[in-house]
């Protein structure tokens, strides 16, 4: 929830404060410092993945791989059961003198369905966990943010952070020598 500040007397709601950097390394450094400072609700925005950044802002997840594993298992079993059910239950026929359940022949289909479902869960899961598609997000209100997809690196401390204080946080960010610090309209 956005907090109140008495800076200029009137109420003002912000999503957070955003610091803009030229290079990944300063951003990384800034993130570490912010975390050390005790900030928790923050996020970094970069034009390409930056190693260690997630750690730096204290983010860990392993949901993607779990989902993919489940997807793979489901796909594999599904594929095999489909073949088995077709040839043994639904449509049994004497084919080439083979037994109804000629399981060796079902291996390719089992494998392919496993890969298919696993891959789909990987991507769909990743997007879902990321909350995408997401048509609107406050960070886009920052004019410079357009370069987050080009050559600029941003650190955003969100106002939901218990330790967030417009002034204090701004001064803290200033110390990190960003190009500039901007308030993010909610």
């Amino acid at each position: 929830m956005p907090t109140e500040t008495r800076a200029s007397g009137q109420l003002e709601r912000v999503y957070g404060l955003m610091a803009e950097f030229d290079q990944p390394e300063p951003l990384l450094e800034a993130a570490r410092r912010a975390r050390a400072e005790g900030y928790r609700n923050m996020d970094a925005y970069t034009p390409m993945p930056v190693e260690g950044l997630a750690d730096a802002i204290g983010f860990r997840t392993s949901w993607v791989e779990r989902l993919v594993f489940l997807g793979g298992v489901a796909g594999g079993t599904g594929g095999f059961m489909l073949c088995w059910w077709i040839t043994v239950i639904a449509y049994p026929h004497i084919v080439a003198g083979r037994p109804l359940n000629s399981w060796p022949a079902y291996v390719p289909i089992t494998f392919e369905s496993m890969v298919l479902i696993a891959c789909i869960t990987a991507v769909v899961g990743m997007l879902a966990l990321n909350g995408l598609p997401q048509p609107y997000h406050p960070v886009f209100n920052v004019a410079q943010f357009a370069r987050a997809s080009r050559d600029r690196f941003f650190l955003c401390i969100e106002s939901t952070d218990p330790k967030f204080d417009l002034e204090a946080t701004r001064t803290f960010l200033e110390q990190l020598q960003p190009r500039e610090v901007t308030e993010v309209e909610p």
Partner: protein, 968 residues
């Protein structure tokens, strides 16, 4: 009634007597169809024909107006829709009859089968008979009476003909001529005689383009009378064929001969003590019989006479002068007095026949293996002379009116007679024919002739047995019969053929029980007690010694292996039937031996111009291994101009070279190469087995010593080799055995299959690509030297493998196994990946690359077997073991609550086979014929080493060569 005949088999008469039916006729017919009761007798005729036409409601193919479809309100007894009826009738080629059973669906004759009770058939048929049903529905048949090419009417013609007869009648018939083919029909003969007595000035001429001139002349020369010769191959241990193709040809009784000959071979395979026949064939043009020979003596056709003379000489007085072969054969013959046959070819000059008769008498075969009877022809004459006389009279202007019963002399008369030129001099020319052919084109009148399946008549078989020709359907194009025409001449225009025939036999059998006699005759298809009694002929007079072969290039004329003399050339099934000798379709070719081809610098596909006695014809060359050197064989029956859409303009017309002095062969031919690259359409490109052994053979002796020869260990696959347990087939287990010892390679099975299973015709270009559709192909392999190879025939249907490779790869389960082990093809499910064909090691699957089945020609719908679906484009098809017959029999058995008897299910190929080489049955029944055959040690499976477990297996071929001149 015989057990093996279907119970529901009835004569038309009997059927027509049913109350419902008579009521029906009274109600429905007379007023509604004025065009049918033009002659009062028609109604009578219809009562008899009712079962097949009226009730059939076969509006697709009868002259019935469409709106007159008969409601099945009251169903006459015996008439079950979907259940075929069988009728006995008989068909004649060259006048000689063969008894048939014809299957009729909804009143449409759909399938020809042999009449087991008829001596000339015993249930067998040849390709020609099988295909004849297609001719019935041929849209190109002549359909209306024409006068000078314009559509006319029967009534008008009757007036015209009567006028012509009257004008001749004023001069006691002088100038009035009848021209028929060979006539054996007692009724027709009697009618003609009656006419001739009424008009003594009139004359009756007979001519068959491929008739039995030589045999007739030979018999006359030998015995002073044209005796008829019958051979008993079941009694013959040694057979010498002097260019006689007695196994598969137009020779009367050849079906029966093939049956007897192979029966004896099969018996010897089982019983080591039985004496298998040993066949020597002296011939120039490779024939089916030559292919079966233990020793085929390749010589120019004109040298056969000399060979015969030498053999006769050697038999009279053994001398070291004669060749080794002659001596060995003579020795063999002498060793089997009374159980050998020397048979002269229909196409060999009379002298050879005389020699054959003499030798047979010398060996005491006459009366034992060679029987003599009166001629089966009603009025045996020298047909060449008869035709020549006619033409001479035409030239002199003595002929005023000519009435032709069938035939096509303008096309097939000897070229030197100039038949056409003389024909034009006649003022009244009428032609009765199934097709409006080359001759019809030059006649004032043409009358559509009724197909034999539309005709009431009678005819004699090779042994004199007479049978009634019973129609299956009313004349589709209101065709007429010769009987009708004579009736017109005798002022009995309103008299039906049926009455004429019936009355004749009533005269022969005046007893009170005639009705029963008539019905039994119709039912059985043979008239009891008409078989000729055997005669003991006088000693054969050896006429002047035959002249030795003239030098120079020899030309040999032969009826085409598939379409014969050309009368049937518009039959697409026959056109597409691969000719046994070279697997060629849709063409005739000039056959020449490899040596001669090399010598004259021609090769297969070169078009040459043959010059013979001042006449020239262009034809493509085919190099045929086993053909005599310095000799050309040309086949008659092609190069038609008015045969119909199918046959017009294909092949070349060999009749144009044929002269009355050289009807079958002549020397002094010459040829020059014109061009090359003529496109033939053959169904087999590789001629040898390429070091493989699809076809396995040995001599009887070898077999009895080493019975396992056909199953070498390296071909054996033990059941353990497969990972999976084998399926068990506990109820029925269908299987087929094909006896290569018996098979003669006549291709009757191929056409029988085509007729039974609605197999489409694809045409020359598609065949040339390799897209022919025959489910049952007959492979032909050569073995041995190129000049004189051994010819091996192997029928290949679907093997119905238990481990069917085709099934494994079908993505949609369109081909699967039935519980009885049939490899079934589900047309409706097939999407056409063609993977099954790729994976079929036997390549027996056929694919509809285009929409091959004819879905447009109305008249052809009639010939289709309603029990077999007509396949559409993009669908795979193949042999089904005639599953429709299997199920038919099973249902029948179930209804009567009894187990299926062995032999109750007969596949189309098995049924047609004259050699009984194909046997189908239940492998779970240890006493079934097929099970017994498969127990024989010479039984082997094609490509068994692939562990396909084929249900169709082969019995290795056994031969009985003469050790004295064994050339392997």
């Amino acid at each position: 009634m015989q057990k093996d005949l279907p119970q529901y088999w009835r004569s038309l008469e009997e059927l027509a007597q049913t109350a419902e039916f008579r009521a029906f006729v009274e109600d429905e017919f007379p007023n509604r169809t004025p065009d049918w009761n033009d002659a009062g007798s028609r109604r009578r005729f219809l009562t008899l024909m009712g079962a097949s036409i009226a009730l059939a409601g076969a509006s697709a193919c009868t002259v019935q107006p469409k709106e007159m479809i008969v409601p099945y309100v009251r169903q006459p007894e015996d008439y079950v829709p979907g259940k075929p009826l069988f009728y006995a009738t008989s068909a004649s080629w060259g006048g000689i009859a063969t008894g048939l059973l014809v299957e009729s669906h909804l009143g449409r004759p759909t399938k020809i089968e042999g009449n087991p009770q008829h001596p000339a058939s015993l249930g067998a048929t040849d390709a020609t008979m099988q295909a004849s049903v297609l001719t019935l529905y041929d849209p190109d048949r002549s359909q209306t009476v024409t006068q000078n090419g314009n559509i006319s009417e029967w009534g008008v013609f009757v007036t015209a003909l009567t006028a012509a007869r009257d004008s001749a009648g004023a001069r006691r018939g002088a100038g009035f001529r009848l021209l028929t083919g060979t006539v054996t029909s007692p009724t027709l003969a009697a009618q003609i005689q009656e006419f001739l007595t009424a008009f003594p000035g009139a004359k009756w001429h007979q001519y068959e383009p491929c008739g039995r001139h030589s045999a007739r002349a030979g018999a006359t020369a030998a015995f002073g009378q044209p005796l008829n010769t019958i051979y008993r191959f079941d009694r013959a241990a040694v057979i010498v064929s002097l260019d006689a193709d007695f196994l598969c040809s137009s020779m009367p009784g050849s079906l029966r001969y093939a049956r007897d000959y192979s029966a004896r071979r099969r018996a010897a395979a089982v019983n080591p003590n039985a004496h298998p026949p040993r066949l020597y064939v002296a011939e120039g043009t490779p024939s089916i019989t030559g292919g079966m020979a233990e020793h085929r003596l390749r010589m120019r056709t004109s040298e056969v006479a000399a060979f015969a003379a030498a053999l006769a000489q050697e038999l009279k007085a053994p001398s070291n002068g004669s060749s080794a072969a002659v001596r060995a054969i003579a020795k063999d013959l002498r060793a089997h007095p009374g159980e050998s046959i020397v048979i002269a070819g229909e196409h060999q000059p009379p002298g050879v026949h005389v020699l054959a008769h003499a030798i047979n008498q010398m060996l005491g075969n006459a009366g034992k293996t060679v029987l003599y009877t009166d001629s089966v022809e009603a009025n045996p004459v020298d047909e060449l002379a008869s035709l020549t006389e006619l033409v001479n009279e035409m030239r002199s202007g003595a002929v005023e009116s000519l009435l032709m019963f069938g035939g096509n002399p303008v096309y097939d008369a000897p070229a030197d007679l100039n038949f056409l030129a003389e024909l034009k001099k006649i003022t009244f020319r009428a032609h009765l024919g199934v097709y409006s052919n080359e001759t019809a084109a030059w006649c004032h009148w043409h009358i559509p002739e009724a197909h034999y399946l539309e005709t009431w008549s009678d005819a004699r078989a090779y042994d004199g047995t007479a049978s009634i020709v019973q129609p299956l359907i009313a004349p589709i194009y209101s065709g007429k019969t010769p009987h009708d025409l004579i009736n017109v001449l005798m002022n009995r225009a309103d008299r039906s053929s049926h009455d004429t025939v019936r009355d004749y036999w009533q005269r022969q059998h005046p007893a009170a029980d005639f009705n029963d006699f008539w019905q039994i005759s119709l039912h059985d298809g043979v008239i009891a007690g008409t078989t000729f009694t055997e005669k003991m002929p006088p000693a054969a007079k050896l006429s002047t010694p035959v002249a030795s072969a003239a030098s120079g290039l020899e030309i040999v004329f032969r009826p085409d292996p598939s379409i014969g003399d050309g009368a049937l050339s518009n039959n697409a099934w026959l056109q597409e039937m691969p000719k046994p000798q070279n697997k060629m379709t849709w063409d005739n070719a000039v056959w020449i031996s490899p040596k001669s081809a090399e010598h004259y610098g021609v090769t297969t596909g070169d078009v040459i111009e043959i010059a013979f006695q001042g006449r020239k014809v262009n034809g493509p060359v085919w190099i045929l291994p086993g053909h005599a050197d310095e000799s050309l064989t040309v086949h008659l029956g092609y190069g038609r101009t008015r045969a119909g859409k199918v046959a017009n303009g294909i092949g070349f017309n060999a009749y144009a070279l044929r002269v009355s002095s050289a009807v079958w062969q002549g020397s002094g031919a010459a040829f020059t190469r014109k061009s090359g690259g003529y496109p033939f359409a053959t169904t087999q490109h590789t001629q040898t087995m390429e070091e493989r052994d699809p076809f396995r053979a040995a001599t009887f002796a070898e077999y009895h010593q080493n019975p396992g020869f056909a199953n070498p260990p390296d071909k054996h696959v033990s059941p353990e080799t497969t990972l999976f347990p084998q399926w068990q087939y506990n109820h029925h287990k269908w299987g087929m055995a094909i006896d290569l010892t018996a098979c003669i390679g006549c291709h009757a099975c191929t056409i029988a299959c085509q007729s039974e299973n609605n197999i489409p015709v694809v045409g020359k270009t598609e065949v040339a690509k390799g897209r022919h559709m025959n489910w049952l192909r007959v492979d032909r392999y050569y073995q041995g030297s190129l000049d004189d190879p051994e010819t091996l025939y192997q029928p290949v249907p679907c093997m119905h493998c238990e481990n069917a490779l085709c099934e494994l790869v079908c993505p949609v389960a369109a081909t699967v196994h039935s519980a009885e082990g049939l490899n079934e093809m589900v047309y409706n499910r097939c999407v056409g990946t063609r993977y099954c064909s790729n994976n079929c090691p036997y390549k027996v699957r056929r694919f509809n690359f285009f929409l091959y089945a004819d879905w447009n020609t109305q008249s052809l719908f009639g010939v289709r077997n309603p029990d077999v679906s007509v396949r559409s484009r993009g669908v795979m098809e193949k042999c089904s073991y005639c599953v429709q017959r299997i199920n038919g029999a099973k249902i029948e058995a179930e209804k009567q609550d009894r187990p299926l008897a062995d032999g109750e299910i007969v596949t189309a190929c098995q049924q047609a086979c004259p050699a009984e080489a194909i046997v189908f049955g239940d492998l779970n029944d240890p006493n079934s014929r097929v099970a017994k055959l498969k127990r024989e040690r010479r039984n082997y499976g094609l490509l068994e080493e692939l562990n396909t477990r084929p249900r169709t297996t082969y019995l290795a071929r056994l031969r009985n060569p003469n050790p004295d001149l064994d050339k392997g």
